[in-house]
Structures are given as C-alpha cells and as structure tokens.
Symmetry: C2
Subunit: 196 residues, 2 copies
C-alpha cells in the first residue's frame, strides 16, 4: 500500500468556503485538492492501492484529517471543483471522537498531524519528501510506505520534530523543487516501475 | 527548449463557457487547464524554458491554438479556475490570419493540429507520447524536443497520420497509462535530471 500524508497548514476545516475560492478563502485548499487528483487518477481508472491523508490545520475547527481510500472511492472526478465539493461535504459532517464516513472512500476525523504520523509509523515505513533527501531512484524502499510532505509550505519545525522522531527516510525526487501534487506523480511513476 | 502539444479533441474554441463547468460544457477543457499547470509550475517559480501548445478542436470556431511561453507568462496561478479565466479571455479575442497576444505569454491563433505539428517539426525533434513507445529512461533525446499527446483521448487516426509523417520518436513513460497532465510531470522530471 502506498500512502501519502499532506499537511495543509492553513487549509480550512469548516465547510463554509466557496467552491470558486478554494485558492483564497479556503486557505490554499486547491493544493490539497490537486493532491487528491495526483494520488488516485490513472488514465481510465483509480488507483485502488493508495491511501491519502490530508491534515487540515486552518479555520475555526482545526485540526481535521480527511482520509481517502482508493479501493472504496466513488464519485471522484479529476477537476478541482468537484473534488472540493466532496471535501466540503466531509467538512460539513458533525464529528465527535470517532472518524466518520462522508462519502464512499472519504472519511473525516479530528486527528492531528501528530496522531496521523504516529498511526502511519505503526503500520508502515515513513518517508519524508524533502529537497535535501536521498534520490528516490537509487533507494530501496518497501512497497508498503507512507510519504509525508507539506502543502505549498514546508513542514513546520514542530511537524518536522514529530516526523523525525520516527526516523523516516528522507527522500528527494530530482534536482528541481516541485509542487506537492507533482511530487505524488513522480513517486507513483517510480514505484509503478518497481511493480509495487 | 521543451515543448508540449496537447490536442483538445472537443475543447471549446469560444469564450462563452462557464468557469464552473470546464469539465462539462467546455469539452473537457479541465484536462488542458491542468496541462498548463504541469507544464510551467515549479515550487516557487515558473519554468521559463517551456512552451505549451493547446490545440482546441471543439465548438463553433474550431480550430484554435493557444500558445503559452514560459519566459513571458504573467498572472498565471496554479488553480484551474484562474487558468480557465485566462483561456476564456484568449478565446474572446477577435483573431484573423495572424496570431494575437491575449495576455503576457499567452497567444491565440487559428492554427490547426497539422499546422502546429508541421511548425514544430521544423524547429525541433518530435516525440509522440504513447503507451507502446520506447521507455524515456533508456532513451537519448535532445534537450530541444517537442512532445505530442492527446487530452483524455488518444490522437485520432488522422492526427496520428500527420504526426507520423514527421517520423517522431515514440516514447512511453512507464507501465501505467497516465492522464495527460501527469505525463508532463514525468517528462519534466526525467529531463530535469539530465539538466536539459
């Protein structure tokens, strides 16, 4: 299983944003929406061996974590607006202690970045996507792996401390610094080639 | 210079579409919009050594070609809606025989797929992105190269005939069939590594 955790440092946690303002009023939710597209879409199907965690840390109800399960996803289209609508529906759900299913393959909870990282560390190896890491092409990694990265901003020192406490591999994807959603595409291509 | 030509088989050529319906009424313009993002965005800058050609073949005013020049681009943001707005502005311009500049780095003309391919063949080597091609990783290609691909549909037999008349390399990107915008990311990563 491939897993990705993308932290949305100021992405809204309330469902009152406008679908035509996801890059502004919703706290760069557009970055995370594009990560959903990158995580799951193949030319004529969805990747069913992928899970994506979006940790939303902006707005009045932070934190919230959206969990996308490739094998269960329905109603997902590649355009930003329709994915934003699915996310808004999830953020409008009332949630307490337990994770809640919003739509097929999309779950919402009050998990924090630390809680998600700790959970992923228990079930898989962790990889920190970072410009000064080891090149993924030369690296042996297990097929069961979780990649952690920031949205349009790097992990904060506090987030980095949480992640580094689990001794992740630090992995880079090439000589240029890429958008988060583009990083997911490069990771997928590399692991596809290894038949992971 | 890296160049990409993406053909939008039913993408609208008139500027009367709604920005919240680019995946429907605008003939899957969303696919092409995402290609703009993939072609140009780096983490904190735009790629200034890239040109993108979108050949729009849908609607009542077909064909039209949008030409994006990385070194001249201004006002480009990564979200789909704002890029769609720039495209709509270009499609609202009155054009005759000559190409017209719509906004910095974005030009619109009445060039057809054949005209664009013929022009690119004069100034660079051509590469046809296709699942049964040679793997890009094992392939020596010049840095001055133009990649040609379809939107959410393969090239038509007629388009393929035009392209093959120029004897392009046929190039694949790995074992999975990818969305057009994802293909651009993988090509970029490979050529970035070669310092092209």
């Amino acid at each position: 299983m491939r897993r990705f955790l993308v932290t949305g440092h100021r992405a809204t946690t309330t469902g009152d944003f406008r679908l035509d303002d996801i890059a502004g009023g919703a706290g760069r939710l557009d970055v995370l929406v594009r990560c959903v597209n990158s995580a799951f879409f193949l030319s004529h199907s969805l990747r069913d061996d992928v899970e994506l965690y979006l940790v939303l840390q902006g707005g009045d109800d932070a934190p919230k974590t959206l969990r996308f399960i490739g094998s269960e996803l329905r109603y997902l289209n590649p355009d930003e607006r329709s994915t934003s609508s699915l996310i808004r529906n999830a953020l409008l759900r009332k949630i307490g202690e337990e994770e809640v299913r919003s739509s097929p393959g999309i779950y919402v909870s009050r998990r924090s970045f630390r809680q998600v990282v700790d959970m992923l560390a228990e079930i898989s190896e962790l990889a920190y996507l970072k410009e000064d890491g080891e090149d993924i092409r030369g690296l042996e990694v297990p097929c069961d792996i979780s990649f952690v990265l920031g949205d349009d901003r790097d992990l904060t020192p506090e987030e980095e401390e949480v992640l580094l406490s689990h001794h992740p591999r630090t992995v880079c994807l090439g000589p240029r610094s890429l958008h988060a959603d583009h990083c997911l595409i490069v990771v997928h291509n590399e692991l596809d080639r290894r038949q992971c």
